[in-house]
Amino acid sequence: MAKVVAQAMMSLDGYVAKQDNTIGRLFDWLQNGDVAIPTPAADFDVHLTPEGAEHWRAWVLSIGALVCGRTLFDVTDGWNGRHTLDVPVVVVTHQVPTDWVAAHPDAPFSFVTDGVEVAVARARNSPETATSPSAAEPWPGNASTSVYSMKWPSTSCRSSWARATAHSSGSSRPRTSYSATPPSAGRRSRHPPGLSRDQVSSVSTSPGRPKMIKISSKVARRNGFHSEDHSSPRCRDMHRRVARIPRTIPGRSQSTIRTGCRIPAGKPGEPSR
């Protein structure tokens, strides 16, 4: 299992930042040498002494994922979605920054609202820190665990399109099942499990608009449904899948799934099937 290391650049009297969260001289050592090394994210070069360079190279190679708190995330604005060390970041926070997530759909960032222990476990299980592919565990399926996650870095994620077909079973509430119909050749499809009547809390139909089906967040997660970004009427490609736990959105207790758009939940980093 991945080792967990606490590291800091600190003053002799033990501070890692000033009162205003600026760093003063703390990072000066990154630019006081002649050995130029680009950072993993290639956002700038460090210039280190030979000893510093040896230490830096070993340190950078050793890191698979980062866990940080909300303060650091806010101060850096989430490193614009890509940390300097170019590894996944797990942020411990009380509230998920939904606006930031919407603005950085490809960022390999997770937001954990259930405490630092869950965050550390999450970071340990990221594909980059897992010792084997099978060690990467899926997102916690428990509805009480709020893990807001974006895509983990992966070279092959595909989207699959489903079209909802509602058929009546003769009862007053339509029984709805979903079947996957690829919108174009070349995209792989997946047959979703059918939803039973009692899993669907309401159905709304407006002429000319997609059918809206309300299901609980638990049902959504268990069946691999994710509500889309409500700022866009279109379904998003798998590369921009967003897992929302409605409990983290104030006032919302259910997912709204638009028919005709479904993003299967796979394991992070795995291609969808």
Binding site: S11, L12, G14, R25
Partner: protein, 191 residues
Amino acid sequence: MAVVVADMSISLDGYVTGPNDSRENPFGDGAGMLHDWFGDAATDEDRAILQQLMDGLGAVVMGRTSFEKNEGDGGWGEAGPVGDVPCFVVTHHAPSRSYPSVFTFVTDGVAGAIENAQQVAGDKVVHLFGATVMQQTLPLGLVDEIHVHVVASLIGGGTPLFGMLDTAISLERTRAVITPAATHLTFRVLR
């Protein structure tokens, strides 16, 4: 003029004693390991560092807290913290009873105590004993060097060596010696 040095053993989280330190419990709770580097765990390198410290000692300046904790019976006995090396105690009120002559009580402030100590130390070193005196003198620019012996432990509470500062103070590390017992760091205070 004699160099003024703050020389302390500290945990990684910067404490010189644990919580609840007292005359009966001078190092506080959970901090007994702080001085192992020159006791049970000492290597030759550690002993050499300690010897260098002792040989260079010309005078000591300390606060009343350190004095009360260690003087007399059960502590330094009839001597000072380093035998008969002159020791200046910074205090608000002169003591009512008499103490061994190695101690001089200074009531007009820490700067005066350091000046007296420097005169006595000659070309040797003035050592600041205890966290309080160092915290008082550092912002006044009266400290020339900081020597810390960092012990591999997190105490989590007690007497911190460093206090709050209004402005940052730059240091230059002049020596780093790593032994199994401690990490000995020497810094020059830049002014």
